[in-house]
Amino acid sequence: MLVPHLADAAKKKPPKRAPVEAKTPPSAPVEPVKPEASTAAPNPAPTLAPAAAPTEIKAAPASAEPARKKSDDLDFDLLGKSDKLNADELVAAQRIQQLAKQRRTMLVVHQALGFALMGVATANVTLGTLNYWDKFGGGGFTNHFELAHLISAMTTTGIFATNGLLALFAPDPYDKPGRWDSARVHRILMAASTVGMVAQIALGFISATRIGQVDQRDFARIHLGVGYATYALTMAGGLVYLF
């Protein structure tokens, strides 16, 4: 049986304490959860200061933050853990990433050579036009542009072939559905340009060896026309990626 004054004290409800987890002032925003500790408790439990007197119960300060709501807790799982990769899958994933990195390197070089190709092809078409004009357009047949055109043509062909091989042999580790997009249009244009480049090499040699023949001019004219068409296809194939 309780002593009367202790019984009265037992009947009284103790004043509400500030919860020990409260750390931040009420005006502060909720502390963001750090990535590496996303499932850990944001605030470690502080150590309790020794009580001043066993019977002294201090009232909670008015500015104390209310307890962190249980509803803010992200410790739940509605979907089940996503399947972690097993050892074999991890090895396969690493291999895919290696191939992806190789692909990226090859395609970066492909882009750089593509820009170089556009520049060299422009120079080549210009020199080829001047060469045709010099021989068949009233330029006096001085042959001033013949060697320059030959060098620019070989350079254009070399860069074109290298670039094409880079694209053909770049690994493709991720599944890719076939569809009509800028990549497909680029490939079609460059395939047509390849046909034009091969024709140009043949026509160039033929018209160069037909000196003095009546049909040299005809071959040169065809070479000029196919050259313009090939140039247009090459430029369009590069610019399509801007759209």
Partner: protein
């Protein structure tokens, strides 16, 4: 006999109240939902949409909501297959195939239209960061749509920003969620 009936009655009440405490779980309708990303490059703006394989659940309980959504990065379609594979390379999709959102919100209840704020974490490229997403919740019977937008930093998730014509895309990635949930 009477005591058995009384006992079963109590058991039923306890079970019913326990179920009420557990809340109601809604599933994301993958065919009616979509998640969209927008990425800006100097040459053009890239928009990729995931309209399938969205796996998600929302649990409503006592005015609070718990949400979890997971979608494979390979589901995002920007209508350019080269660009999509480049995106998968950049986020190392073979090692981190999914992007996952886990969040909670207050003041969400069945039939209650209005705004809410999803507070949680987004896990992308194997890295988690806190996010806050203001959403609109609109109920239509036992179905609801949850629509919201937010932005993240690719650098914060350690994603190597893709480049085109030697120009990198901007760091900011805008995400828009349009989820339809049903019981």
């Amino acid at each position: 006999m009477v005591s058995r009936i009384v006992f079963m009655g109590f058991a039923f009440l306890i079970a019913a109240s326990a179920h009420a405490d557990d809340g109601v779980v809604y599933s994301v309708d993958s065919h009616a939902s979509k998640i969209t990303y927008t990425l800006v490059h100097k040459a053009h703006t890239v928009v990729g949409v995931a309209k399938k394989d969205i796996d998600g659940k929302v649990k409503l309980s006592k005015g609070d909501a718990q949400l979890m959504v997971r979608v494979p990065v390979a589901s995002f379609d920007s209508e350019n297959s080269n660009r999509d594979t480049h995106m998968q390379e950049a986020v190392e999709a073979s090692k981190h195939p999914n992007v996952e959102l886990k969040a909670v919100a207050d003041g969400v209840a069945p039939g209650k239209n209005g705004k809410a704020v999803l507070k949680g974490k987004l896990t992308f490229h194997g890295i988690s960061h806190p996010v806050e997403i203001p959403v609109d919740v609109i109920w239509n019977g036992k179905t609801a749509t949850v629509v919201g937008q937010f932005s993240i930093s690719l650098d914060a998730y350690k994603v190597e920003r893709p480049s085109l014509l030697f120009v990198k895309v901007e760091d900011k990635l805008d995400l828009a969620v349009d989820l339809t949930i049903s019981e």
